[in-house]
Symmetry: C2
Subunit: 647 residues, 2 copies
């Protein structure tokens, strides 16, 4: 018998929780007059094989002790989190769930001056008039660079869905150093780095990042074929991890959603929820099965090398043909389509390197696809790609994403059930193979509420350690003090070190993180102080400070050393184009200074040994007290420079 869904962990019924599910989660479906077969699935769930009935009390091994750190105690894991439409990249300490940093990337950040300094504008991208091209962003997925199947601490990447951008984060300084916009696509959603080269065994680390596009558009999307939806297409994209240039794209049928890669470097994968290519959501869910699409990286790159590609519109990126019609012969195919039930979401590679798992979303199933068999199909050894499916089992309502503990178990979020289901992959394969006694569901845990992404410590590496699991719950409802209509989301922390999952903490987060990764702190060694020489415009000595005029162009060079700037005052004239360069000569860790100019809409910071610059038009006469905005010293309030703008 499986755990009754109306029971809380303490064994007491929790009717309010279910009441919410009934109203919120199903409201839209009911309101739109749709029947998507979810009720039917619910009924089918009862006889599905479950685990032994869980005891009412959590196992003794895992309590909240060890989750809450003592003052001064450090977290043992880093968490890298997307920030959703807050547009940022977040760094959490785990298990405390404390947010330690936000790395500005796609949207301006008033604290750091990101989007305002010349250096950050060059990374973000500007219009011809110098203003930022984009100020909104919607980050979804972040993953880090690999070496030998584990994180190597070089980079993380994060996607931005609204404007189809990808950013790279340097993990030495936790800064964004590169952003590009992917051409020819809309709704860029999934992202995953490769883990090694498919051909060269010496390249045992990440050199590519794969990007899936969710929305299908006319190609090129320039006003032609506006309403001929049969011509709308999506592309799968490969970005070079070092140069951050787009290497190639693949034209496909249907769309891309999430992305995953095999540990051998040979395959990339994307789940597809709209193989129908519908433009209305009713059409997008009309087929009973969609797909997981696999890309043969070596063959695609050979095709590009052989010139077997086209380009789209103004874009110079090689585009190879990955449609089913063009890839019928397995021996030459660039892609392989394995069918997956109804609008799947999530595709995840198991840490034993053997499988990809797709979650059914509108089907209550998980589909397990064997990597070796997909490769067999490409080698002509498998008649039908669906023969690569080694399990397709019912796990609960609205399955979305799956994490792993390195002990053979998968943890899948059930959006509609508001649960995590822990299930054993080998047992699922046995059950699928006919062994109906195989108990693949190990445990179920209520979460609060409507979980989306899930991940476990080291889950996406060969070093999955099965210690902590975190689940991003899209609704928090009543879990925190009320703060008005906009609710925090809940990142719930679960101890998975034992047989039973134990929910140990609720961490609210500003909406809305999607994906995240959690890994051991030993894998990173961030630097705390910049190197002066890394900044070409650095003002290396206070004596280099001054106002340097060339006609109407004025350069003001400044340094900071607590509690003073090198120039207590400086003069410019109305009409000047002023470029102000500030180098922080303080060398001590954590001794950051700010620089604000009242009424001129300028503020930015310089971390120890950092140089930053801003350019602005002196358009107002008067006295403007530039001041340090980042607390630095007992005389911080007195740390000022006086900008005198002469009429």
């Amino acid at each position: 018998m499986s755990q009754h869904p109306d029971q809380k962990l303490d064994g007491q019924p929790d009717p309010s929780r279910r009441k919410f599910l009934n109203t919120a989660a199903f409201a839209g479906l009911a309101g739109a007059g749709l029947s998507v077969g979810l009720s039917a699935c619910k009924q089918e769930q009862a006889p599905a094989p479950g685990a032994e009935a869980p005891g009412a009390a959590p196992a003794a091994h895992a309590t909240s002790a060890g989750v809450h750190l003592k003052p001064g105690e450090l977290d043992t894991y880093y968490g890298l989190w997307s920030g959703g439409h807050t547009g940022d990249f977040r760094v959490l300490g785990m298990p405390s769930g404390r947010e330690l940093h936000r790395v500005p990337c796609f949207v301006p950040d008033a604290l750091t001056g990101w989007g305002l300094t010349n250096e950050s504008k060059a990374i973000m991208g500007t219009k011809p008039d110098g203003s930022l091209k984009y100020t909104v962003g919607d980050t979804h997925h972040t993953h880090a660079s690999y070496k030998d199947g584990n994180y190597d601490g070089r980079y993380a990447w994060i996607n931005e869905k609204i404007n189809s951008r990808i950013a790279r984060i340097r993990l030495d300084y936790f800064i964004c150093d590169k952003i590009i916009e992917i051409p020819n696509v809309q709704g860029f959603h999934g992202i995953f780095p490769d883990k090694r080269d498919p051909v060269d065994p010496a390249i045992n680390y990440t050199t590519r990042v794969f990007c899936g596009a969710e929305f299908q558009v006319p190609l090129p999307n320039n006003g032609t074929d506006l309403e001929d939806t049969s011509k709308y297409r999506a592309l799968f994209t490969c970005v070079d991890a070092e140069s951050m240039e787009v290497r190639w794209q693949v034209l496909i049928d249907g769309n891309c959603d999430l992305t995953a890669t095999s540990f051998d470097g040979k395959l990339a994968a994307t789940n597809q929820y709209n193989l129908e290519s519908g433009v209305h959501y009713v059409d997008m869910m009309s087929a009973e099965r969609d797909a997981c699409l696999f890309f043969n990286i070596a063959r695609i790159e050979q095709a590009v090398k052989d010139g077997k590609y086209t380009t789209i519109g103004d874009s110079k990126v090689p585009v190879v043909d990955g449609t089913r019609a063009a890839n019928k012969d397995p021996k030459t195919a660039l892609t392989c389509t394995v069918s997956v039930p109804k609008n799947p979401h999530g595709v995840n590679a198991t840490p034993d390197t053997k499988y990809f798992i797709c979650a059914g979303k509108l089907s209550p199933t998980a589909t397990v696809i064997e990597v070796a068999k997909v490769l067999d199909w490409f080698d002509g050894k498998l008649e039908n790609p669906d023969q690569a499916i080694v399990a397709e089992v019912e796990i609960g309502l609205g399955p979305l994403h799956t994490a792993f503990d390195g002990r053979g178990n998968a943890y899948t979020t059930l959006f509609l059930d508001s649960q995590i289901v822990k299930w054993n992959i080998d047992a699922a394969i046995k059950f699928h193979g006919g062994d109906k006694a195989a108990q693949y569901v190990v445990d179920r845990l209520d979460v609060h509420y409507q979980p989306g992404h899930i991940n476990a410590s080291q889950s996406e590496t060969v070093a999955a350690d099965g210690k902590w699991l975190c689940v991003g719950c899209k609704f928090s409802k009543d879990r925190f003090l009320p703060v008005g209509p906009l609710h925090a989301e809940t990142e719930q922390l679960v101890d998975i070190s034992g047989e039973k999952m134990v929910h140990v903490a609720d961490h609210p987060v500003r909406p809305e993180p999607h994906d995240f990764i959690i890994f051991k702190r030993e894998l990173l060694s961030p630097k705390q102080v910049y190197t002066l020489e890394d900044f070409p415009h650095a003002v290396k000595l206070p004596s280099e400070s001054g106002v340097f005029r060339e006609g109407k162009k004025v350069t003001v060079k400044l340094t900071s050393q607590a509690p003073a700037y090198s120039l207590p005052e400086f003069k410019v004239k109305v009409g000047d184009e002023v470029t102000l360069i500030l180098t922080n000569l303080d060398k001590i860790e954590d001794l950051t200074h700010g620089f604000a100019i009242p009424k001129y809409n300028i503020n930015f910071i310089v971390n120890p040994q950092e140089t930053a610059s801003v350019t602005f038009k002196a358009d107002k006469a008067g006295v403007f007290w530039c001041y340090c905005t980042h607390f630095c010293h007992a005389l911080h309030l007195e740390m000022r420079s006086r900008m005198i703008v002469e009429a």
Copy 2:
């Protein structure tokens, strides 16, 4: 004997901590070749009266139990926090320290569309071309509206220093509804609401907000008197709490820093660190004593009523003369200057309503000023304003801000000592009065590191409850996992329910909160769903949706109900000025939707029953998949509308 500063709570020496102080905190002072007498102060500290030696082990009454909430357990206090140069207003749950919300006010917020929707732009303020006037902000102090000496849950206010703005936050919806820019000032820093009317006893609640300006500038600051620093002046400002219009300003000597108000409504106060009116920091610290300046509110308002004011430049705000030269006669004086040692920081009203306390910053002292005696001076009953000083006692190095427990004790941050000192006000008064046996220092606690603001639960009200104390530490150094050069700050939580302070948790925060308040959750009842009728442009039914054209001006009306927008597609033409109005018809708490338009730099959210609009130029032909950015439903990914822009 007082607690040895090199001892940690467990009694073990912590040399690394002091090492940091020696290098970081003093580096600037030493580097600038200054001697500010701090070393001397340090020597004087030893014989100062202290508490009994604290035991090595924290008292049993307060451990980390009770600080860390169980999953689902709610916080018992709200915390309202400034966000510093992040420019926001934050809502924390206490004691967990979890950030539950950020209320966008002074700077754009990509998550909500603040600064992008027409509604938020109207509040933030725009240039003639429709773009935002300011996109950076530096929030420092937040305080809430009072009734009968306690918070009444109507409003909070928060200041912005770079551009001298003040924002009001509605505490029913936790939204900013009004922002104004204060004229004639620069470096607006301190802010405090009054607590009742000075004249009308029926007005037992907040109707004014007082604002102190820190930087002295030419008046008007339009290019005249640029270098005649003797003409630079600062003003103290009163803003109407309801209309948010500036009522009046007071011309003063020196500058304003922090602000406080008496519980009887009669006095506002500001500490002054630059009575010298220096423009270089060395000059700002040349005098041995600066001041706390008191404003007689009733007299100032009578003077305004009597027409005894001037105006400055284009501003129509009445400015009364509060300089010392004009206010020598106590019986008619608008202001009263009480001297305070060297560059004081912080002025705080005690919850027993009797005193104001100023911290010495560059003097190791706290100064206790009796409210009744200041009023006596205004009544001609006190010869010298300094006779209102009832205590001036040494408490430690770099005292900045003071909080209270409602049991007669004050808690002052010592920036240079990296400590909190708990001291008894009555004992300090006795000691100052000559009773050298009075032990006013009760306890000292090391914090990490360089504490600035401090506050305790309900500390600024007559209901101070002495339960939790939080201290904003400006440097976190080694308290969290390293995340590059920009460090989080540390808000350290201290249990003050017992005789000894017990540090129970470290909460990292994104730089840089300054002030904050903590109050009981029962004082607020926020609403979770908006009222449709409160939005004049609401699209109240899906049937009201459509594209409405008037020449080149096009209005697109849309509604949202999970998982669909009312229009699956809509058409506009290149060159149109499009205003898109979206009403979220979902009524369920927490069911927020987003609306992003790819490549058009648009994203915003609509909370339940909320209406928002954006206006943009259709300047690119093509198909643009508008999509829901705020997870709402199992079919969230499929929730889209297709904007077709015809060439």
